[in-house]
């Protein structure tokens, strides 16, 4: 009987992994074929776009299929579905931005790596098992090393690649160490089962081990999202690597990191013993506050555009950490007016659009035949023939600084509102302080974003601008700007899925008898 239960669970899991499988298989096919056929990068890019579309079709095919939450390694809940849709959509935008980046002979590996990263991110979104989650995370990291190394072999890119590689290995080590402790403290690898166990009145077998697990897992994931104290790489790597890589690095690992945090930390430990939840909340609080402050304060000093966006990406990781803190503090109160997970998901959507749009503008623009590097070089862009680009940049920057009614504003609103609604369940005012810190930081952030807008429109131009990249880049940037405005006006379109995702993240049904037996057998194993 148990055999058939496991068989069903495995087949079901494979079925819901169809979108990821499509991506992985096409990436493998591309990489294998590339030495034997000679195709242009445009064509490889087109193949990648088709495989993303095929993956989306598979996603819709798998829609509604489900497996037993306590037995399968991957699940297909609302959080997974909406996140995967987001990742696929952003994958299209990235392909649009990247279509001219690699040389013809390396294009297959480059686009294949991008597809693999997307597949890894989607695996993390649907992961329900620590091992599986780790595989997903590494499936994002390893192609990233490849992409960093592949594109251009100049000393600066090599330095960037090396830095990223070693620090990423360190972070993976920390994460793996934490996951090991997680397994050690529960005896389980299934995340829903862990959450179910920790929400029971009986304590976890070893609470103190769980604390170590939380700290190390969080530390490992902090690297992915570029949060303090593992943020150091971000400015150096962004500045040193090609712009398109910086764009991918600022978006995909961050999304993956926060999805992993939702899956492995907030969903599991928000319902654990009060002491453990409290410690986890304090940890997230400290990271959130430190990240926001550091990111914004140092960003004030930056003149280099990519470095500025790197610090801005750190600052946004801080805002997102406020959502994590709120999610931990809210616990099982999914019915709260605004849930932390809801805020995180909403913010990720907004962040994808505005940050990819801003990087896209840098990719598009050339001044006097050279790429734009410093903030000053954007002076006067608003009144040249490249004014649509300036407009898109202005929309993205205003959204990044959180000006209503753009999408970035609603993202901040949802995150800070979730912190405030956590106050209803938590007596301490620490979350109120965090929300206030967040708002103050947005005010500081507005300074360096608005400075660019001011320069673009009120300063005389310093050179001859030209636009390159053709329609794919232009339409990606345009889509980012237009969606930032439109979704800002109709934010319910994003808020409803975010709400569903939040409910799914904390959803814990009563396990079936067979699943309980499985869990019990597993937890009593030595």
């Amino acid at each position: 009987m148990q055999t058939s239960f496991f068989y069903d669970a495995t087949v079901g899991t494979l079925a819901i992994l169809a979108p990821e499988l499509v991506l992985i298989l096409s990436a493998i096919a591309m990489m294998t074929l590339s030495p034997f056929v000679n195709l242009s990068r445009r064509l490889w890019c087109r193949v990648s776009v088709w495989s993303i579309l095929a993956s989306s079709a598979a996603l819709f095919w798998a829609w509604g299929r489900s497996t037993d939450l306590y037995a399968s390694a991957a699940i297909n809940d609302a959080l997974a579905l909406w996140s995967q849709l987001l990742i696929l959509g952003s994958g299209l935008l990235v392909l649009g931005l990247a279509h001219e980046e690699p040389s013809d002979e390396r294009a297959a590996e480059f686009f294949g790596s991008l597809l693999l990263m997307n597949a890894g991110a989607m695996l993390v979104a649907s992961a329900n098992d620590v091992v599986f989650l780790f595989v997903g995370l590494e499936l994002v990291s390893i192609p990233t090393y490849l992409v960093l190394y592949l594109t251009r072999r100049t000393p600066t890119t090599q330095e960037a690649a090396t830095k990223y590689f070693y620090l990423s290995i360190l972070a993976s080590g920390l994460l793996l160490y934490g996951l090991a402790f997680l397994y050690g403290s529960t005896g389980l690898s299934n995340l829903k089962a862990m959450a179910y166990l920790s929400s029971r009145p009986v304590n976890l077998p070893n609470v103190h081990l769980a604390l170590i697990a939380i700290v190390f897992v969080m530390a490992g994931l902090c690297f992915r999202v570029a949060a303090v104290p593992l943020h150091f790489y971000a400015p150096d790597v962004y500045q040193g690597s090609p712009t398109i890589i910086a764009a991918v690095l600022s978006w995909l690992p961050k999304a993956v990191g926060f999805l992993a945090m939702i899956r492995v930390i907030t969903s599991v430990f928000s319902q654990a013993s009060t002491e453990l939840t409290e410690q986890a909340t304090v940890l997230a609080w400290i990271i959130a506050a430190a990240t926001m402050i550091l990111g914004n304060f140092v960003a004030l000093l930056q003149e280099n555009l990519k470095r500025l966006l790197a610090y801005s990406s750190i600052a946004h990781a801080g805002y997102l950490m406020v959502g994590v803190t709120a999610a931990l503090a809210l616990g099982s109160h999914g019915s709260a007016l605004y849930h932390g997970v809801e805020g995180i998901f909403f913010y990720l959507v907004a962040y994808a659009l505005m940050t990819l749009g801003a990087f896209g503008v840098i990719i598009m623009l050339r001044i006097d035949g050279r790429p734009v590097e410093t903030v000053r070089q954007l002076s006067g862009l608003g009144w040249t023939k490249a004014w649509p680009v300036a407009l898109a940049m202005a929309v993205c920057l205003l959204s990044l600084s959180g000006i209503p009614p753009l999408l970035g504003f609603w993202g901040k609103f949802e995150v800070f509102a979730s912190a405030l609604s956590a106050l209803n369940f938590d007596d301490s005012t620490s979350l109120l302080v965090l929300a206030i810190l967040g708002v103050l930081n947005s005010a500081i952030g507005a300074y360096y974003y608005l400075r660019i807008v001011v320069l673009m429109y009120l300063a005389p131009s310093e050179g001859e601008f030209e636009i390159r990249g053709g329609w794919p880049v232009a339409s990606s940037v345009g889509a980012c700007a237009v969606l930032t405005v439109l979704l800002g006006l109709f934010w319910g379109v994003v808020a409803a899925p975010a709400r569903e995702a939040a409910h799914a993240a904390v959803y814990l049904p009563e396990p079936s008898k067979i699943a309980v037996e499985t869990v019990e057998t597993a937890s009593t194993m030595p």
Partner: protein, 683 residues
């Protein structure tokens, strides 16, 4: 009872009344460049259609008639639907407002002809009519407040229509600021109502029902009524906030006629009449209202006695007549409550016609005199301006309450209401006693200053304004140049106005006579001169519950009032019909009083020295604090993040991978230690 009511066609479509003028205004505003000299047409059409719909609503007026057009505001427990109320009071106001506005808009097409901002003028008039009708139609205090602010904004824009003239800009600013003071009271009243109304429902029916059932404490009713009256004193130009209205005459004359005589200034009266079911429950407040109205009527009449500017005489007369309306409203105590509100609204109704008439006639004089309005610079115009002369005469007689014109009957109703209050009021009888006799004295003064303005303008030897006139302001040729430069009057002076201006005058004069005749004819049939009006007004929300007192026509009051009116006109005739030594001798005899009246009793100077001075001082203190404390503080604080970033945080970004790894690891270790200690600290 209310639920059984089925809204009829005109009730369901009453929202069209504000909508049509608004549409007209928008069309004019958008098509300004194309329409140019035809810019009045969309607004005429809008107001005309609104008037037709208003006439339709007259028949379907019912005290329960309301209709929710759409859900407007919904925030937390504040729900404000866009709901219209089509009862006796609102339909009467709507018909009057749209009718007078229509005539004024027609007149203005002639008066404003050639002005470079011709389309702007009509767009604003359309916007004003939309706001005013919206104010009257809305069924809750908040929506009323929105439109209340709307008419205030239109008034500001229209007073300052010739904004290039410093005096017009200053007058607009003054009107706006003084009205803000009043709006403040109204706003507080709404906040208070919101906090105590059942279900936070601000609609009139629920609030009056709550007031009647006693679920709103008496002290709150008194306080809210007083605050509403505070709001009304600004909009309807009562003491202490009346000073803006005479200055508002800087606007184009049609604006003065429409907004600052016939319609907008009655908004305060309307608000109190609308709230009568609640205000009538606070007799103390009623006495305050009556006394304020009385004092205003007397003061304004006393100032009007000596003014030389024809429009200013009319402006002070408006203030004074509004005072009468408030006297009547304030007399709504006990079983004469309904009588009082009917009297106030009837006077408002008749006043709208004859005062609009008088203003338009003054405008016609001004138009003919090349924008000169100083009565010392022209005389004896009766032969040159025959139509203006005759229509002005009708208006002046109505204002002086000469029977059987409309003004006679309405003033008599007001006096009757006050004398009723003397008997009905329990503890404030003496107040009404004083009010009654003061009102009679004021009636005499009204007749006198009206007669004075009339005789000075139209009688005596003919004289036209000329630059050589010793009364003409010496350097005024350029300052007043707007008349020729901007306003564009290039015609010869001293001719009767064109038909487009004369016909509205005749219609308004006809109405003034007609309303009087209706009263006269209806008297034997219905048992009272204004019963036909009262019958319609009775179909107003909450009015059927007000006290119905016995209302007989008081021959004593009527006779006394008429005698005083005739006496005033006669005195004016003796003094001013032909130039004589009498006025000069009077001036000498009552020198101090004359100067005080001419100087408007120095109320403006008093306000300047006290209120304005205090505000100015506090403004300069705030300015100082803002510039030197707040700004410096902000600039200082803004430096901190930058400094911290530069001095500390940026140092750790040194590019050494070993350092990054080591410090990350240390930080993680520190965090773990901290959390473990935190866990240990708790039991």
């Amino acid at each position: 009872m209310e639920s059984a009511y089925e809204p009829g066609f005109f009730v369901r479509n009453a929202w069209l009344i504000p909508f049509f003028p608004l549409l007209g205004a928008l069309v004019t505003a958008v098509g300004a460049r194309r329409l140019r000299g035809l810019a009045h047409l969309p607004v005429w059409a809008g107001i005309g259609l609104a008037f037709l719909v208003s006439l339709g609503t007259l028949a379907s007026a019912d005290h329960a008639a309301k209709y929710t057009v759409f859900e407007w505001l919904s925030a937390g427990n504040l729900e404000v639907p866009f709901q219209v109320r089509v009862d006796g009071l609102s339909t009467m106001m709507l018909s009057m407002v749209t009718f007078v506005s229509g005539l004024v808009a027609i007149f203005a097409a002639g008066y404003m002809h050639g002005d470079p901002s011709y389309p702007r003028f009509f767009a604003l008039i359309g916007l004003f009519v939309a706001s005013m009708t919206g104010l009257v139609l809305s069924n809750n205090y908040l929506l009323t407040y929105v439109f209340w602010e709307g008419v205030g904004a239109c008034s500001y824009l229209l007073i300052g229509f010739w904004y290039a003239r410093p005096s017009a800009a200053a007058a607009a600013m003054k009107a706006f600021l003084v009205n803000r003071v009043g709006d403040f009271g109204f706003a507080i009243a709404i906040f208070w109502l919101w906090s105590i109304a059942p279900g936070h429902d601000l609609s009139y029916d629920s609030i009056f029902a709550a007031a009647e059932s006693g679920s709103i404490p008496t002290s709150a009713i008194a306080g809210i009524s007083l605050l509403l009256f505070w709001g009304a004193t600004a909009k309807s130009a009562q003491i202490p906030l009346y000073t803006w209205l005479p200055d508002a005459m800087e606007g184009p004359t049609p604006v003065s006629a429409l907004i600052h005589a016939a319609t907008m200034v009655t908004a305060g009266v309307y608000l109190l009449a609308r709230s009568m079911p609640m205000v009538a429950m606070a007799p103390g407040v009623q006495a305050v209202i009556a006394a304020t109205g009385c004092a205003t009527a007397l003061l304004a009449a006393a100032i009007a006695l000596t003014q030389n500017d024809l429009k200013r005489v009319m402006a002070y007369s408006t203030v004074s007549q509004l005072g009468y309306m408030f006297m009547a409203l304030g007399s709504g105590v006990g079983d004469v409550a309904q009588l009082a509100v009917v009297a106030a609204m009837f006077h408002l109704f008749t006043h709208a016609f004859f005062k609009a008439l008088l203003f338009l006639a003054s405008g016609s004089v001004m138009h003919a005199m090349g924008d000169v309005i100083d009565m010392r610079r022209f005389r004896g115009l009766r032969h040159r301006l025959p139509i203006t002369y005759l229509t002005f005469a009708v208006g002046a007689l109505a204002l002086a309450a000469f029977p059987p014109l409309s003004g006679f009957f309405s003033k008599d109703e007001v006096l009757g209401a006050i004398s009723g209050a003397i008997h009905a009021s329990e503890s404030y009888s003496w107040v009404y006693q004083i009010v009654y006799w003061t009102a009679l004295v004021t009636a005499f003064m009204t007749a006198f200053y009206t007669g004075r303005a009339f005789f000075l303008t139209f009688h005596g030897p003919e004289k036209l304004p000329s630059p050589n006139d010793p009364e003409a302001p010496p350097v005024d040729a350029h300052a007043h140049g707007h008349a020729d430069d901007a306003h564009g009057h290039h015609h010869e002076i001293g001719h009767e106005s064109p038909p487009v201006m004369a016909i509205p005058l005749m219609i308004l004069a006809g109405c003034t006579v007609l309303i009087g005749l209706i009263c006269l004819v209806a008297w034997p049939i219905t048992g009272g001169p204004a019963e036909w009006f009262a019958g319609h007004l009775e179909k107003t929300l909450g009015f059927e519950a007000l006290g119905h007192g016995e209302h007989g026509f008081s021959w004593f009051t009527a006779t006394l009032g008429t005698l005083l009116g005739v006496g005033g006109i006669a005195l004016a005739y003796v003094m001013y019909a032909e130039p004589g030594p009498l006025p000069a001798r009077m001036k000498e005899r009552f020198g101090a009083l004359y100067r005080a009246s001419l100087g408007k009793f120095y109320v403006d100077e008093f306000y300047d020295a006290t209120v304005v001075a205090i505000v100015r001082i506090s403004a300069s203190i705030s300015d100082f604090v803002d510039t030197y404390v707040v700004d410096r503080l902000i600039t200082g604080i803004a430096l901190i993040p930058r400094a911290i970033g530069r001095a500390r945080l940026a140092l750790y970004q040194n590019g050494l991978i070993q350092f990054y790894a080591a410090s990350s690891a240390l930080c993680v270790a520190f965090l773990l230690l901290f959390l473990v200690l935190l866990g240990l600290q708790r039991p």
